[in-house]
Symmetry: none
Amino acid sequence: MPVRVEVVAVGTELLLGDVVDTNSAWLGQHLALSGLDACYQTRVGDNVERIVAALRIALERSDAVIVCGGLGPTPDDVTREALAQLLGVELVRDDEVLARIRGMFEQRDRPMAASNERQADVPAGAGVIDQRRGTAPGLICPLPASDRVVYAVPGVPHEMTEMVTRAVIPDLQTRMGGRAAIVSRALHTWGMAESALAERLGPRLEALEATGNPTIAFLASGMAGVKVRITAKAPTVEEAVAVLDTEEVSVRALLGRNVFARDGATMEAVVGGLLQARELDLAVAESMTGGLVASRCTDVPGSSDWLRGGIVSYASEVKFDLLSVPEGPVVSKVAARAMAEGVCRVLGADVGLSVTGVAGPGTQDDMPVGTVFVGLHLAGSTSVSHLHLAGDRTLIRQTAAVSALDALRLRLLGPEEPSTG
Amino acid sequence: MPVRVEVVAVGTELLLGDVVDTNSAWLGQHLALSGLDACYQTRVGDNVERIVAALRIALERSDAVIVCGGLGPTPDDVTREALAQLLGVELVRDDEVLARIRGMFEQRDRPMAASNERQADVPAGAGVIDQRRGTAPGLICPLPASDRVVYAVPGVPHEMTEMVTRAVIPDLQTRMGGRAAIVSRALHTWGMAESALAERLGPRLEALEATGNPTIAFLASGMAGVKVRITAKAPTVEEAVAVLDTEEVSVRALLGRNVFARDGATMEAVVGGLLQARELDLAVAESMTGGLVASRCTDVPGSSDWLRGGIVSYASEVKFDLLSVPEGPVVSKVAARAMAEGVCRVLGADVGLSVTGVAGPGTQDDMPVGTVFVGLHLAGSTSVSHLHLAGDRTLIRQTAAVSALDALRLRLLGPEEPSTG
């Protein structure tokens, strides 16, 4: 029986709907991936008595609780007080934590408000989870005379995800001890809808139905593509991984180059790796994506090894004057070609990638919203692809950026070898 | 005392994080706007016993419960069964509802599956809320010998919002008689930590403590800054808005230009508005932010009116050759100044904004990670600011991009008038 973990999200802003509770969704996903069961999730406002009541109910029906939020420095942050009351202990100021918070403010050259001292308060007997991104440390509170435990983590998403991945899930996995190992792996695909993937994998899915191990699930993941998640159970992690390895070969044989990465690697990191292996550097010319392709690339650590830079040619005159695009419609094959060649020349790069199109809300050059041209200049030859994307302005721009990188990935992989399967 | 309403969202996909629970956020917002208090929200999987348990807990601490989801035709839709069990009654097939569902399928010229008949099952004694958009009707279930009530509504967002607006909220308002309206407003701030804001607003927070109306709360919101949320209660919405208006003036007097927007406007939209009002256009030169500033700007609809374009000068040679940055360290005041001036010249813009710095993981030009220089060229004069940012690579880049836009905002606002407060 898997460990049952309940998420309690704290914050009046969640109840008022000012903030959509994406933390609980993220936690649900990552707990499930780690083989932990989630039967309930609760949201409660910034109120000590109500938080304590919610925690009591959660601990009656679950083995572990992750309380998320209410660790900030302001008076409405009362999760620490609620935990002390739940455990029936006092809050004790932890000198080591306090010193670390002070150090953080000094490093940033900013004065520390008196209220930040509260963030060093720890319920007596609780453990502290190091904070790596903000000021509030996390807490591990084992319940007296019981094997249940409450973890407190910050509500700021990037602080929460880092702390849960690094400390909370490993701690939970240790506590669940000698149960079956459940291991997952995600293959990221680009260019196929969920339903098309399911159809392509049809025979494999049917074969697995009989055994129920491993299982395959699909998860539409926005700009990370559609994930094909394979989950295997076995007595040990090593055996589960061996099951995954075998299944991955079968899935890749069916999906081919639509699989671009595994377990969270981004499209831009994959493209960067291919460029580096071929000792090529890249220049990007962007119109409708307005810097999204370049900013994705520069988010990859070490991208200075393969990215030369980019030009955001938003106004048409910038296209004509700087990139030598011929006067005329700028949402066109001709413009995409000239932009890819022009940016290579102006920035002195080996590879030029360009994006021009219509993100909306209005049309442009008589082209409908969602029209995108991607230009690619490499080894003396330029190709242009023509895409039709759906969605609102933000979605079209984001999808265009990733699709442009995917076009570059496929070109760098070279012609596909005939399948041996 | 306002009516306390609790939302119970049903669906295993919510617990697994495959779907983000936006329904609860919408309900929270609309209940608050109608003067109804929400103290808790719960999510539970598609399981009769657990739904009943969640409803029992909710009814102990709230006056009314809205259960959302689990009314579909498939076997995992078990909210009807859970309600019958909670009320201790049988499910009865309602002929009138059945006829209406049949009619809907006929109208759409689609065959009706046998499973759809289940959607006409109603717990004995419950009322039916007409379905206008899908097939599942809503339910009103008064608890025997009590004034508590459970409403069941579909989980499909557009069906839910229509039914709640038309039937559930009016029914709740009738039950609560002439109680209060609750209205909120958020002021977005940049450049001050949550604790520093609380300290600056100290006297105001103390004064409000006595009356409890309006209330002020802080919400760290990543790249949307720290929000200061003011919430007011009054007999009518108009009166509550008047209380907000007065309080907003007091808060703005204390926070000054740290407030950059209200109710969800982004920094880039604010900057775009200021540029457009002054008939100026902008060019951006980015190194460590690698296109983030430009892509934020181009995400604003209509940004072609004020954004000329940008240059991502990631490789140092691009800075030297294209932007005429003098050879030497590129993480420097000198480089930021030359980049801002250079991009203005190369792209023919009125205003030049530049960002150079160290995002990490490694240091550069002997500068520590988090060092950022922002250059600003406008009306013949160039200024440079020097920032120290904390966090990982992604956070430092994002913060640098918004801080650069904030520097431009402050410059466009011109010299601050002496405070009269």
